[in-house]
C-alpha cells in the first residue's frame, strides 16, 4: 500500500517518478482562466493514485501537465528528477513516448488501424524493436488484456470496453513508468470499468508502473492506493 502521507518529503524513494512544485496553469487572454493553481504533488514508483473532484475543477488540466502534454505557466515539474519546463518539444515528445502512456475517456484509437496496429504504433515510433518483435509484443499485450480474438479488428468492430482495453494496451506498449488515465471508465458499464481498474491495480502491484487516474466513480476511486481531490484547480484533500 502507498504511504498515507502525500507530501513530497514523505515520498518513498529518493527520486520520485514525478514531482510537481507549485505548478500553476493559466490560459492567457482578456479574462485569464486559471486551470490549475499551486499544485504540489509527488507520485512515487508503483503508486496507484486516483484523482477526484467536481466537473470543471481542473482534473484533466492537471493530468495534461503531469503527462508533459501541457506546460505550466509557473512552478516546476520534475520528471525522473529532471526539471521539464524548459526542455524542447522534441525532448518532451521523447519522454512521453518512452515513459508515459495516456488513456482517455474516448479511447482515441486510430479508426483505420486494427487493434494490433494501434498497439504497435508507439513501439514503431520508438523504433527500438524489429517489426516482428513489435508485432509479437502487441499481440502479447492484447492477449494479456483478454483481447486475443480482436487483433485484426478495427475499433468500429469492438465494444466500448474492448476499445478501452486496446487503448490501455497501447498506453503500455513502450513499458511506460507512468500511466495517466482521464476517466477511462466514464463510458463503460460497471463490469468493463471494473476490469480496467483490475488492470491498473495489477500494473501498480507489479511495481513497474505508476498509475494516475481521474474518476468520478467513488467506488472505483476507493480501490486506488491514494486519493486526491481537486477543487477549483487546487488539491484540497489528500
Amino acid at each position: 500500500m502507498a504511504p498515507p502521507d502525500p507530501t513530497p518529503t514523505a515520498a518513498p524513494e529518493a527520486t520520485p517518478l514525478l514531482r510537481a512544485e507549485a505548478v500553476t496553469r493559466r490560459l492567457p487572454g482578456p479574462v485569464p482562466v486559471t486551470l490549475v493553481e499551486g499544485v504540489n504533488l509527488t507520485v512515487g514508483r508503483g503508486e496507484f493514485l486516483a484523482v477526484t473532484g467536481p466537473s470543471g475543477s481542473g482534473k484533466s488540466s492537471l493530468l495534461y501537465l503531469l503527462g508533459l502534454l501541457d506546460r505550466p505557466s509557473a512552478g516546476e515539474l520534475y520528471f525522473l528528477g529532471r526539471p521539464t519546463s524548459r526542455i524542447s518539444e522534441h525532448e518532451r515528445a521523447r519522454l512521453r513516448l518512452d515513459h508515459i502512456g495516456f488513456v482517455f475517456q474516448f479511447h482515441y484509437l486510430l479508426p483505420e488501424l486494427s487493434a494490433e496496429q494501434n498497439v504497435a504504433l508507439p513501439m514503431r515510433k520508438a523504433g527500438r524493436l524489429p517489426i516482428r518483435q513489435v508485432r509479437d509484443r502487441a499481440r502479447e499485450l492484447l492477449a494479456r488484456l483478454g483481447l486475443e480474438d480482436c487483433l485484426a479488428k478495427t475499433p468500429d468492430l469492438l465494444s466500448g470496453g474492448q476499445r478501452q482495453r486496446v487503448a490501455v494496451a497501447r498506453a503500455l506498449a513502450n513499458e511506460p513508468d507512468l500511466i495517466l488515465a482521464d476517466e477511462p471508465t466514464g463510458n463503460l458499464d460497471q463490469k468493463s470499468g471494473s476490469q480496467v481498474f483490475d488492470i491498473f491495480e495489477q500494473l501498480a502491484a507489479d511495481g513497474g508502473h505508476s498509475v494516475v487516474t481521474v474518476t468520478h466513480d467513488q467506488a472505483l476511486a476507493a480501490r486506488a492506493g491514494r486519493r486526491i481531490t481537486v477543487v477549483d484547480g487546487r488539491i484540497v484533500s489528500a
Binding site: 484533466s60 502534454l69 512521453r96 513516448l97 495516456f102 482517455f104 482515441y108 486510430l110 483505420e112 515510433k125
Partner: protein, 414 residues
C-alpha cells in the same frame, strides 16, 4: 514500411474515391504532356534536322541589312529639303569580288563554302509554264555544303557536266511540268535568254516548298541565263559545328557588310511558331496539373480537418510535429507519384497510338506519319513537375496539421 507511410496510406484508403479522381487528374496531365511533347518535339527536331540538312548553315547574300544611303543623302546630310525623284545609284548586283571572298571564307577552320547565283526562271514544257528558282552551283563545292546529292532520286550531280544545258529539278516541280529524267524543257529567264535544257536529275528533300520550286544548273549556265557573267549573289556555308552558325554569320556580316543569315535566322518565323506551340503545350498541361493539385489540396485539407483528433492522439503518444507533417505531405506525394506512373502508361499508350497512325500529307514538309520524340526525358520532366505540384498542394494543409495543439483538441473533446 515506415509508420508515417502506413498512416498516410490508411488515410488515402479511407478516401479512395476522391483520391482516385485526383490520381486520374495527375495521370492525365502527365500522360498528355508526355504524348504532346513527344509529338511536338519530334516534329520540331525533325524539321530542324531537315533544315540543317538541306539548307546552308549560313548564307551570305548580296543585300544589306539597312539600305545603303543614297548619294544625295550623303551629299546633304543635314538637308531640310527633301529631294524627290532622285535616281538611286545603280549598283551592279552580286557579291563584289565574290570568288576572292569565297576563297577567304573557305580558309576559315571548320567551314566549307560554295558560290551560288540565284534567279527566277520560267520552265516551259508543252503548253505548261511553271516558274522556278534557279540555283547555279559548282558541283564539287556544292557537295561539301549541301546534301543535294543525297536527296537525288534520279540522275546524278556530275550529270550536270554531261550535257550542254543540264538541269536538276525538284520532284514536285517535275511533276507539275509533267517531265521526267531525260526530257528537255525550255527555260526563259527574266534577262530574256531562252535555252533548251535537259533534265539530268531529280531530287526530293522532303521540304515541300523546295521540291516544288527549286532547279539546279551549273553556275556558268545560270550566269549566262541571267546575263550576269562572273557574278555570284550568295555564298553558302556549311559548318562542322552547326551551333556556331549564328556567331559565324555575325562575324562575316561585320567583316563584309553583306547580309549574312544563319539557318536559325532564315527560319526564324517557323522557329517562332515552335516557341508559341511549346508555350501552348506547357500551359495546357499545367492547367490540367493545377486542377489536379487543387483536388489534392482539397483532399488533404479535408483529411486534416477530419483527423484533428487522431493528430492530437498521435502527438500525445509522442509523435512530433514533423512526423505529422510528413503523414499529410506523403498523401499528396503518393497521389502525385502513383498518378505519374499511371500517366507514364497513358503517355506511352498515346505515343504508340500516334505512331501507328499512317497518313500522307504535304504541308510544308512531306511526311508519312507523326515524327515522335520518344526520349525518357519528357517522362521525367512530367513526373517531376506532377510530384512537385502534388507535394506543394499537400504542404499547406500538412503544415496546419503539424501545428495542431493536442491539449486544445483533447480538452475540447472530453
Amino acid at each position: 514500411m515506415s509508420l508515417t507511410v502506413d498512416i498516410a496510406l490508411s488515410h488515402i484508403a479511407r478516401r479512395r474515391r476522391q483520391a482516385a479522381v485526383s490520381l486520374v487528374g495527375v495521370a492525365l496531365g502527365v500522360g498528355f504532356f508526355v504524348a504532346i511533347a513527344a509529338l511536338m518535339q519530334g516534329f520540331q527536331q525533325y524539321f530542324v534536322a531537315k533544315v540543317i540538312d538541306v539548307s546552308p548553315h549560313v548564307a551570305m547574300k548580296d543585300e544589306y541589312r539597312t539600305p545603303p544611303r543614297q548619294p544625295v543623302a550623303l551629299r546633304y546630310p543635314e538637308a531640310a529639303i527633301a529631294l524627290g525623284g532622285v535616281k538611286p545609284k545603280d549598283e551592279p548586283r552580286g557579291i563584289k569580288n565574290g570568288f576572292a571572298r569565297l576563297a577567304e571564307i573557305e580558309r576559315l577552320p571548320g567551314v566549307a563554302a560554295a558560290p551560288v547565283l540565284t534567279g527566277e526562271l520560267i520552265l516551259r514544257y508543252g503548253s505548261k509554264d511553271v516558274s522556278a528558282a534557279l540555283l547555279g552551283i559548282q558541283p564539287p563545292r556544292e557537295r561539301r555544303v549541301s546534301n543535294l546529292e543525297g536527296d537525288l532520286t534520279a540522275g546524278s550531280l556530275d550529270a550536270l557536266y554531261g550535257s550542254a544545258n543540264a538541269l536538276i529539278l525538284g520532284q514536285g516541280l517535275a511533276d507539275k511540268l509533267g517531265v521526267g529524267l531525260g526530257d528537255s524543257v525550255t527555260a526563259l529567264s527574266p534577262a530574256g535568254v531562252v535555252m533548251k535544257m535537259k533534265i539530268v536529275g531529280l531530287f526530293e528533300t522532303g521540304i515541300t516548298t523546295m521540291d516544288l520550286r527549286q532547279a539546279y544548273s551549273l553556275l556558268k549556265k545560270a550566269q549566262v541565263l541571267q546575263n550576269r557573267p562572273n557574278v555570284v549573289n550568295e555564298i553558302r556555308l556549311r559548318l562542322d559545328d552547326v551551333a556556331r552558325a549564328e556567331a559565324v554569320a555575325r562575324r562575316l556580316e561585320a567583316r563584309y557588310g553583306y547580309r549574312t543569315e544563319s539557318w536559325e535566322e532564315s527560319n526564324r518565323n517557323v522557329l517562332g511558331i515552335f516557341v508559341i506551340q511549346n508555350a501552348i503545350m506547357y500551359s495546357t498541361t499545367s492547367a490540367i496539373l493545377i486542377v489536379a493539385a487543387f483536388g489534392i489540396f482539397n483532399i488533404v485539407s479535408t483529411v486534416v480537418l477530419e483527423k484533428t483528433r487522431d493528430i492530437a492522439i498521435l502527438k500525445s503518444i509522442g509523435l512530433e510535429s514533423h512526423d505529422v507533417e510528413t503523414i499529410f505531405l506523403l498523401q499528396g506525394l503518393i497521389v502525385g507519384l502513383v498518378g505519374s506512373l499511371l500517366g507514364w502508361a497513358i503517355g506511352y499508350g498515346l505515343i504508340e497510338l500516334l505512331a501507328s497512325v499512317r497518313f500522307n500529307i504535304e504541308g510544308f514538309m512531306r511526311s508519312e506519319g507523326f515524327k515522335l520524340e520518344r526520349g525518357f526525358a519528357n517522362y521525367l520532366i512530367a513526373a517531376a513537375v506532377a510530384i512537385l505540384a502534388s507535394g506543394l498542394a499537400a504542404l499547406l494543409p500538412a503544415r496546419k496539421a503539424a501545428r495542431v495543439d493536442p491539449v486544445e483538441i483533447i480538452r475540447g473533446a472530453t
